[in-house]
């Protein structure tokens, strides 16, 4: 019988991996992959708490919301990246400095 702790530690590892991918990659689509890692870590936490915690089914419902939000985020981000690519012919995010931010 496994408890809550292994799932939480796996979720922490996935979160750190996602953050590392977002920081280290220069390709915008690779950054999006890192964001998917972070969101999956959060969802894994929610489902693990739903099974082993005291929240009941609320965790699974919240996990469904996270999945829907991740899909919407991916769609809009890819549309923005396509526009970015059409404007300056690359998806290297270091080139996107027209706004001087």
């Amino acid at each position: 019988m496994m408890g809550l702790t292994p799932y939480l530690i796996l979720s922490a590892i996935l979160l750190v991996l996602g953050i590392a991918i977002v920081i280290s990659k220069r390709n915008a689509i690779a950054m999006l992959i890192g964001v998917e890692f972070i969101l999956n870590a959060a969802t894994l936490n929610l489902v693990a708490f739903s099974r082993h915690g005291i929240g009941g089914l609320s965790g699974q419902t919240a996990a469904l919301f996270v999945i829907v939000l991740a899909a919407a985020e991916a769609v809009v981000a890819l549309a923005i990246f396509l526009n970015f690519y059409h404007t300056i012919a690359t998806v290297d995010i270091d080139q996107g400095d027209q706004l001087k931010g």
Binding site: I13, L14, V16, L17, I19, A30, T43, L57, V68, I80
Partner: protein
């Protein structure tokens, strides 16, 4: 015992996929490893007894988001390979930050006394549906509006540009 074996198999697969993405320089391989990680996490949902969330994970993520990402890769990849590798200083900082963050999270997880419930919740699609349309009705409606907005926004952002009469488009618009 079997549960532990399956857990460590799937967890190792997910972590290996993350490390492979971190080390890889080919964006197509990254997309492949992302699909591997998504399937492994979906398997973990099945292991946790959340069958509906597992099915939705496979359907929406692997069937939708991952395929979308592959399309994005195919539409945008062009001579990006030399840009993908970070410098040596960046790697050192990244390892430091990642290690500190992982250590802090792991210590806080291990030193917390979690309130655990040994019994699994009554788990059926019907219960989740009642929860969605009862307790979570407000967020449910908000999310459906957000999906509509995201769909329209993506269609607006990705639409083909209508050539205008501006001077910067003069080469593209050769009107007879």
């Amino acid at each position: 015992m079997l549960e532990a074996v399956i857990f460590f198999l799937l967890a190792g697969l997910a972590v290996a996929a993350g490390v492979a993405i971190l080390l890889s320089t080919s964006i197509v391989r990254m997309a492949y490893w992302l699909i591997t990680m998504l399937i492994a996490v979906g398997g973990l949902y099945f292991l946790l007894g959340a069958y509906f969330v597992g099915v939705i994970q496979i359907l929406v993520y692997v069937g939708g988001v991952a395929v979308l990402l592959v399309f994005g890769v195919m539409l945008t990849s062009r001579q990006l390979a030399p840009k993908l590798r970070p410098g040596r200083g960046e790697v050192v900082w990244l390892a430091l930050v990642g290690f500190v963050l992982l250590e802090a999270l792991t210590l806080s997880i291990l030193h917390t006394r979690w309130q655990q419930n040994a019994m699994a919740p009554a788990n059926s699609v019907g219960e989740i549906g009642r929860s969605l349309l009862g307790e979570f009705l407000g967020p449910f409606e908000l999310v459906s509006v957000l999906l509509l907005v995201a769909m329209l926004g993506a269609a607006y952002l990705a639409r083909p540009k209508v050539p205008t009469q501006g001077p910067q488009h003069a080469k593209g618009t050769t009107v007879p």
